[in-house]
Amino acid sequence: MSDTTESGPMLAADGTPLKQSLARALRRQKMRALLLIAPLLIFIVVTFVIPIVSMLFRSVENQIVSHTLPGTVEVLEEWSGTDGDELPPEIVYQNLYIDLFKAAEAKEHTKLGTRLNYEQTGISSLFRTTGRNLDDMGEEWQDPLEDIDEAFEEADFWYSLMSGTGGEELLEERRNQWAALIDEGMAGDIGFTLSGEIAEMLPWTARAYSDFAIYAAIVDEDVVAEEEPWEAVYAALGMDLRSAETLDAIASYSGAGADPLKAAVANIDQLPTITFKEAFADQDEDWLKLENWQAIKVYSPDYTTGYFLNAIDMEKGIEGIQKRPDNQQIYIMLFQRTLIMSLIITFSCILLGYPVAWLLANLPVRSANVLMILVLLPFWTSLLVRTSAWKVLLQQQGVINEILVWLGFVDDANRLILMNNATGTIIAMTHILLPFMILPLYSVMKTIPPSYLRAAKSLGATNWTAFWRVYFPQSVPGIGAGSILVFILAIGYYITPEIVGGTDGVFISNRIAYHISSSLNWGLAAALGTILLAVVLLLYWLYDRIVGIDNVKLGG
């Protein structure tokens, strides 16, 4: 406190400058306030904000492709996919075999199949059926190799061939890929270290064997040295033996397992000559389908705009963004319908709710209470019961039609179609949301002194002028609050449109529900949900700009 001089700042009782002391006191107060609301804040963040954000995040998330097929995705980058109908090169199919074998061992390949099937029909069964036959594909190499030299049957041979030092980097890379694939830290000792020399000489085999070793040791909890490797390792050796460099390297190799390797080279004519592209095509012709490869390539990045594009009736193609075919467009139309119908419902609620609220506010207390109960009674009834009751009323053989036919207003043969269409949704939802309009209106009207109206009239206003110029402007905040409540509730409504909406009375939320619970396309559901949320926020902002949120009152 060196600056505490006569002319210096004012001092508090304890000698600190007043400014500082005040700031400290205020800070303490703020902290206390923060602490008081902390439980609520934490509760909201943990149970509301985090789940919603993480759900919405799914709308861009797409790591599943690169996690399941890491090698394939990497080499697929070289392939443009737009050069006429040229299929990816052999190296892509080789990588695919290694990746897919691994994924099938961990039963992850069908998940990717489901994911890609959203974009390209048929991939789901392509992955499923191929996944079942990867063993057989590998045996094409395994059997002749074992015929050439029995050592290939032995776990021991493989272990001593692959073991050594210098291959740590590759092993670590494969470990990370496993961890990404099965969402799990794959840390731990696997009792195997890869030889750098082998990794250089037999690159495919080294990768396949590392994959096998990591999985065997950590997931299966086996001893790597005692396990016969996967069929994929034999197929990988087959890949290596096709490279001239590898053949040269084997000729001058003298380490562990050199003899069987040399025997394999000597009898190379006994190994299958089929390419992996052909081998995959033998399993399923669809592996030669350009569209499938384009879909894999387009959806290989970790994050994608694909779901959002789908949500606005567009799609991501190999040549960029394009419109979906006309016969698959639906979401824009549903968004529009949801907005328009929510507006109609809001206006119907204002029209019906305003007089009721006025009565509530102006009747003598006794009768107002009875009316209030009548308003609240349906509010307390289960939503499903109310919707089902509307079903009974509105259907063609229902109460309303029966009465109209009985009264002779409607011909028996041409009964009104009041539900399973937009009319049904509007009628039922207006009724269900009416209390949300009436209650804010009532609480605002309650505060408007009746003397204002009397004063206006005594000054010569007609009934209408008195209402329109004096009463109505004062009730606008109630309309604003009621409208926001009703509109925002309506826009996300799901169960009532589902039951009485038929086909042209359903909302976007019904499609969101379908994608969440039926098609399991959570990414698309999240994208639709995010757009819906953005639209609501935008409208709220517009409302604030035009009407002003200060003009909204929920109570006196």
């Binding site: 489901t114 099937n117 029909t121 789901s124 099965i182 950590i218 016969n327 038929g502 086909t503 399991l520």
Partner: protein
């Protein structure tokens, strides 16, 4: 987390095989998931009541969530907290749960009881073992019911699937399910496509358009349902003349409620319903689930279920044991979708096809519906 789950499951599998006989460390609480209503009641009567009688310490809790089972299991799996032990789902859902790694693989011969004559479980269930995780329980069918009192005079009651598309002979509303599955097959069948070619045609763009064009001819006369109870209700109210739904629902409307409804079995589509066991149960719970499954899917138990509901047992060896309805006393065999009189012309739900084409055709179907 997933790793530990896989580990648990694989070790638990070995434990379970022994535990079935040993009755060692089995959990005493079990949560079963089913569809509610008459169907769940038939399961309570045929499976869980006798099971809890045999194992007095066991409490069974039911959750009526089968309709959302796939989504809920996925959510549970992501949260790492599986609260269900045995889940009743349709075969298509079982296939998807299996694909997603959410259901456990089952080896029928190892985990399920052989038939009384010694036939292995695998042979006894035969073709009905769809996918690697599914334990079939019943065969049900999606078929049509019509109002007998609304058949126009002088016309035969509908007995051909194409009568559904014939608005001239059979005027009135129809109710169809609000999804493409079954509807597009029926449409093609009535548009001159041979039964064996239906899926080949449907896998082409033109074929899908052809099916929707055929459905377009009756679109204005269709009420689209999404819950199995809708069609029986619509029929009972006289809202529709003919409508598709599950055969068991029609059975109860006709036989139990005495509604003037007739069955039209032509081109009924067989589908399967059965159990799956979620991936990731603890050893004890898994042992209990396995024990229950072994009991509840044996020949006698499956035949017993048919006393309360008109769905065909999934085991070949159960069929001869199907008796009379427990309350009504009528013979159940003629009401089974698998009865020779009813199954002259049938379809079997094509799981592989729909697993691939579901998203694609559904998008087109929904867009067509909205037009």
């Amino acid at each position: 987390m997933k790793l530990t789950k896989t580990l648990l499951a694989s070790t638990a599998l070995t434990v379970a095989a022994g535990a079935v006989a040993a009755d060692g460390h089995m959990a005493n609480d079990m949560t079963l998931v089913s569809w509610g209503g008459a169907y769940q009641q038939s399961q309570i009567n045929a499976y869980t009541d006798p099971y809890t009688e045999m194992n007095p310490g066991v409490t069974v809790t039911w959750d009526e969530s089968s309709a959302e089972a796939v989504a809920k299991l996925r959510a549970m799996n992501e949260a790492g907290n599986i609260t269900w032990d045995v889940v009743d789902v349709v075969a298509a859902d079982a296939l998807r749960l299996c694909d997603e790694g959410l259901a456990m693989e089952i080896d029928p011969d190892e985990h399920l009881a052989p038939a009384p004559d010694g036939t292995s479980a695998e042979d006894d269930f035969g073709d009905l073992l769809v996918g690697d995780c599914f334990i079939p329980q019943i065969v049900y069918s999606t078929t049509f019911g019509y109002r007998t009192d609304m058949v126009p005079e002088g016309v035969e009651a509908p007995n051909d699937i194409c009568d559904v598309f014939d608005l001239e002979t059979y005027p009135g509303m129809r109710s169809l399910e609000k999804r493409p599955i079954n509807n597009v097959e029926w449409a093609l069948l009535c548009d001159g496509v041979a039964k064996e070619d239906v899926y080949d045609v449907l896998s082409t763009e033109e074929g899908q358009e052809q099916a929707l064009a055929k459905l377009d001819t009756i679109k204005d006369s269709v009420i689209w349902w999404s819950a199995g109870a809708d069609t029986p209700q619509l029929l009972a109210d006289g809202e529709v003349f003919i409508g598709s739904t599950y055969n068991g629902r029609l059975f109860s409307a006709i036989e139990e409620q005495g509604q003037p409804i007739g069955m039209m079995w032509d081109a009924q589509v067989f589908d399967l319903d059965g159990w799956i066991i979620p991936e990731g149960l603890s050893d004890e719970r898994l042992a209990r689930a396995m024990d229950f499954i072994y009991f509840a899917t044996d020949t006698q138990r499956l035949a017993d279920q048919a006393k309360w509901i008109s769905y065909g047992p999934a085991r070949a060896s159960s069929a001869p044991l199907v008796g009379d309805h427990a309350d009504l006393g009528i013979a159940m065999a003629p009401h089974m979708p698998t009865d020779p009189n009813n199954s002259k012309n049938t379809f079997l739900y094509n799981y592989e096809f729909w697993a691939d084409y579901r998203d694609d055709i559904d998008a087109k179907f929904q867009s067509w519906l909205a037009q």
